[in-house]
Each structure stands twice: as structure tokens, then as C-alpha cells.
Symmetry: C2
Subunit: 339 residues, 2 copies
């Protein structure tokens, strides 16, 4: 459309009859310039439709007012909620979110981090703990602060805000034990490159071990977090080793898939089989039967991560570790063990 180049600060300065320096100050440090000059500059800027050139500013100030977020995928509802909160919260403070995904591939994560660093993010938000250690080296060298979401770093070294997956998982399993269940199966997520999944599975094992109950290897399935695979995992467990009365799922998508599979096979939930999920996504309360699950406060986590990052960027310090509660929500998908 318009072929002439956009107005720049020097145009504004000329229009207002002031120097570059004054124009710059009038717009970004108003208190440093006299009232009337300030207004004049602002008017000219508005009139010309002046839009500051972020890259130039970034170059001069060495900060981009941009924060990167690196999610496994962002279409998992739980991550979507966190992304939303993150973007919203950052925007409130004039920051913008640079979003990237890595699909649970450490190499991709490293590569994409490099790109994010090139883009000059002032800070970076990551999910979980499992990653190429090289990535931390990169961040340290670049001097870019980062926050880990979802998990709690056992070493206490990294700044993180998350929940205690293992303990929550123990609690969910306890709940089933208390209902009299003794035959368990687990539909877990992929454990490779995913500490949350591993911790949740470990939690189940721990709770069962405490009562000397064994979790048979053929009673554990791994699946990706999409509905078709979730159903498939349930089908597989049923085929390989039927007879379990409780199914613990690595997340709600897996659980809802299991629910669907049961519905289509006439397995009654919770009369024949009790199912628990993890995450408490929106849909968990919408399906029938409503899902018993562990609530992971995803949006809150996003908000906290943003707040912590903003605080650090502003020079304030925050606790290295912030734990958020992961509450067990008992709904209709769990009941007393049959017989």
C-alpha cells in the first residue's frame, strides 16, 4: 500500500521542533521534559501515526519487553490454560509472549531455545525438568532468567512454580485403596522426556507398595495425550490383562478416553471400574460420569510464573521454589470396588 517509509522519531522531533533526545524523552520519560514541549511532541507523534521501532529500542536498551514460553504442545487443554494466563498477565505489564513448542523432543527444545534467545527474550518460561542440560548452559551464558512451571526442582536450584505430582498421585491412589480396590491398572502418558508423567506413575507404585500390592507390568500402558490413543491404551489394558477394578490415568485426556472406551463396551463406571484422571481440565466435570481427578491449577501456574518473571525482571527477588496445591477432586467416576 503505502510505499513511503514509516515515520520515525526524527520525523516527530523535526515536526515538533525539538531534538531527537527531547522527542525520545517526551515519549518515554515524560517527567524529564517541560509540559508544553511534551504535549507538542505527543501531538505530532499522534498526528504522524508514529510507532516506535522496537528493534531499535531493543538494540539501544538491551531489552525487548518480550518473554519466551516453551511448551511441549500448546493444544493440550491444560497447557492452553497456562498459555492464556501467561500471555494475559504479561500483556498487562507491557510484555509480549513469544510462543514456541517442541513436541516432547529435547533436540527441538534446544534448537527452539536458541531461536528464542536470538529473538532477544528478556526471560524464558519452560515446562517441567527433563531436558538437555546444555539448555541451561545456554541460558546461563546468555544471562537470561528462566522459570520452570509444573514441576518442583528437587535440587532447589532452579526457579520453579509447580505441584508435587508424586504426592498427589499417591493421594489419588489412596483414595482408590480406601474404596477397597486391590486390582489396579495405569494408563500413563509417555514417560520419556516427561518428569511429570514419571512422577505420577511413581506415585501410584509408591502407594501400592505401601500396601504390598504389586502393579503388574502388563497393567501399565503408555499413550500420548490424545483421545484416540487414550482409548487404544484402555482397550489394550483390557485385552492384555482384564480383571482390574481401578484405572489410574496419567491425565484427564487419557481418563476421558478410557471413559469413552468403557461406555462403548458396556463397562459401567464406577460400578465395574473406577477411573481417576489428573489435571482437572474443564471437561473433566462435563463428562458423564464426572471425573474424579487431581486438580492442577494450570491458569494459576501461568499467572504465578508470569508474576515471578516480571518481578525478577524488575529486579525484585522471589522464592526459588513455589509450590501450588494439587487437590484431589472426588466426583462420580470412582466408587467402591465391586464384589
Amino acid at each position: 500500500m503505502t510505499r513511503r517509509t514509516n515515520p520515525k522519531l526524527s520525523d516527530v522531533a523535526r515536526g515538533a521542533g525539538v531534538s531527537l533526545a527531547t522527542a525520545s524523552r517526551a515519549l518515554s520519560e515524560p517527567e524529564l521534559v517541560r509540559g508544553d514541549t511534551r504535549e507538542r511532541v505527543r501531538e505530532v507523534a499522534a498526528m504522524l501515526g508514529y510507532v516506535p521501532h522496537g528493534a531499535a529500542r531493543a538494540l539501544a536498551t538491551r531489552e525487548s519487553r518480550t518473554v519466551g514460553a516453551l511448551f511441549p504442545p500448546v493444544d493440550n487443554p491444560i497447557f492452553a490454560a497456562a498459555t492464556q494466563a501467561l500471555a494475559h498477565e504479561l500483556a498487562m505489564s507491557g510484555y509480549t509472549l513469544l510462543l514456541a513448542t517442541h513436541e516432547y523432543d529435547p533436540a527441538a527444545e534446544l534448537q527452539v531455545t536458541r531461536t528464542l534467545l536470538e529473538r532477544g527474550v528478556d526471560g524464558l518460561v519452560l515446562v517441567g525438568l527433563d531436558r538437555d542440560p546444555e539448555l541451561y548452559r545456554l541460558l546461563a551464558q546468555a544471562g537470561v532468567p528462566y522459570e520452570l512451571m509444573w514441576s518442583l526442582d528437587p535440587s532447589g536450584f532452579h526457579y520453579c512454580v509447580g505441584v508435587a505430582h508424586r504426592i498427589a498421585s499417591v493421594r489419588a491412589t489412596q483414595h482408590l485403596l480406601d474404596l477397597g480396590h486391590r486390582e489396579f491398572a495405569v494408563s500413563a502418558g509417555r514417560t520419556a522426556h516427561n518428569d511429570r508423567t514419571r512422577e505420577r506413575l511413581a506415585g501410584v507404585r509408591e502407594a501400592l507398595a505401601a500396601r504390598a500390592i504389586e502393579l503388574r507390568p502388563d497393567r501399565v500402558a503408555q499413550a500420548e495425550f490424545v483421545l484416540p490413543q487414550a482409548r487404544e491404551a484402555c482397550r489394550e489394558l483390557l485385552a492384555r490383562s482384564p480383571g482390574f477394578t481401578a484405572l489410574v490415568c496419567g491425565n484427564d485426556v487419557l481418563a476421558i478416553g478410557a471413559l469413552a472406551e468403557c461406555a462403548s463396551r458396556g463397562i459401567r463406571v464406577p460400578e465395574d471400574l473406577s477411573i481417576v484422571g489428573f489435571d482437572d481440565i474443564d471437561m473433566a466435570s462435563g463428562v458423564t460420569p464426572a471425573l474424579t481427578t487431581v486438580r492442577v491449577p494450570a491458569a494459576e501456574m501461568g499467572r504465578r510464573a508470569a508474576a515471578r518473571m516480571l518481578a525478577r525482571l524488575a529486579g525484585r527477588d522471589v522464592e526459588r521454589t513455589e509450590e501450588l496445591p494439587a487437590e484431589l477432586i472426588v466426583r462420580a467416576s470412582t466408587g467402591p470396588a465391586p464384589r
Copy 2:
């Protein structure tokens, strides 16, 4: 951590014993420099852990390799899917996604667009048609190309990739009419600042009008796209004017909420009430009964928008309007009208 500043291109150049220009070319236009020099530069760069300074590059080249996306909210599953596809597709071509949201507030959208422009996005992806016209002026002045997703611009002026909501909605309603339904209710989304919602509602009216069936005002509810409101809307319709046998919902979240409400009241779906949704989110096939709905190819839309934007940024031209199919998916939530 490290207090000394990051290595810059001049450090690399010095280390490799070449000029700035050659170092730059060795890294970004390899074919212009001799093999051995190129390798030497690369080695030094790797050794120093050199990371190019994006802002400086953006300043010099006048492009940021960054594309902005402005979603209403991104935690709606359908938008999450598009975001994911967008981010992924852009990343494949070395672009990064700058994500912002406006929560259906035109003023916020304008404001946030300004920020995105400041950040120097090379292109912008927007959702739907309803917005402050000033926004287009802004984009035109900045000379930033944009793509509209979801809707099809009737004027054919804007570049867009979307589906024909109204027609699809007519089709869904037809489906119910064909099943013998005559008493309709609609659980619509908020129609303010949302052309998709309006078109879908209009489609229902159109289909009914064609058979001289009236849609009573008290048989229309508006709700936001979250489960609690969805249930509330259904409850309200039932209270205000019971007796309808078909419920058309503005999207799947609304439909699943209705499903949940019906389940808790003992209303059988589809025996007593047929329900159709819109979007075909993942969960639509996972709930019981599985939802009859219109499939909106959200991920594909994200991919196409990315591809179109990349093409345009590369100087190729694309069709101004690209329509994607919105297919009716008949599942278990619709059946013959009772009696």
C-alpha cells in the same frame, strides 16, 4: 552469573581473522565465502557460543522473522489447536510466533495490535471479522500483511482462510429438521464482537424460516464459552420455555455443557432432546453420547494461515479467499424427534 557481555559478531570476526562483513556472510550467506574461511568462522562462532543479536539484525534488515497472532482467548480448545499449528508451522520456516489475546474486547485488540507492531512483527494473523476498523488503518500504514482466520470476508477484500459458518449452521439445522424436529432452541455464544457466533445463529434462523418455523426469542440463550455458563444457559432455556426437542449450540463447549445439564436432570439425549454442537473439538467424540457437530478444521486453518503468510512474506501471492470445508459429523447426540 556471567557478567561479561555476550560475544558479538566482531568477536567472531577477530577470532577468525576476518572482517565483520565476511563473518556476517559466512554465517548468513555461506555460498558467498570460500570454504575454508567459512569453516573457520563457524568454528570460532561455535567455540565462543555466539548467538546473533536479533534486534540488531532486525534493525539492519527491516524484518524480524516474527509473526504475530491475536486470538480472542487461546484456551478455547479450538483456538488452542490453531495456535499450536501456527506456532509449529512458522517454526519450521525459522519464524517465531508472538502471541496475544484480547478477550473479545475491541479496544484491547487495538491496543495489543499496536504493541505487536512495535515489536516489529513481519505479519499478523487475526481471528474473524469484527473489529475496530482503525485496526486495518494501522496495519495498512505500517505495511504489515495480515491474514484473517475462521471467517470469510464477504467483501473479498481481506486475505482470509475460514469456513462458511452460516451455511454449515443451516446444514446442521436441516439435519434436525429431517429428523422430524419442529421445536428448536439455541444456546448461542455471545454475539457482540463475534461474527462467527452471529452467522451460526443466523444460519439456524434461515433454515427454520425456510420451513416457516419460528424461533421464539425465549428459546435463544447467550453464554460465554465455558462449561459452567454453558450449563446455566441450558438450564435457563429449560426453565423459560421447555418443550423443545432440538437444541442447536454455538459451539461444542456449549453443547457439552448442555449434555452435562441434561444428564444431571435425567433428560435423555437423544431420546428426549437432540443436541448439535459446532467445532468438533477433540472431546466431542469422547463424551457420551458422542456429539453430533460441525467440524471446523482448526489445526488445518492454522497451518494454512501460516503457509499463506509465509508465502506472502516470501513474495509469492496467494488467493485472497480460501474456504475450508465445514462438514457435518453425525454422531449419537441427535435422533428422531420424540412422539
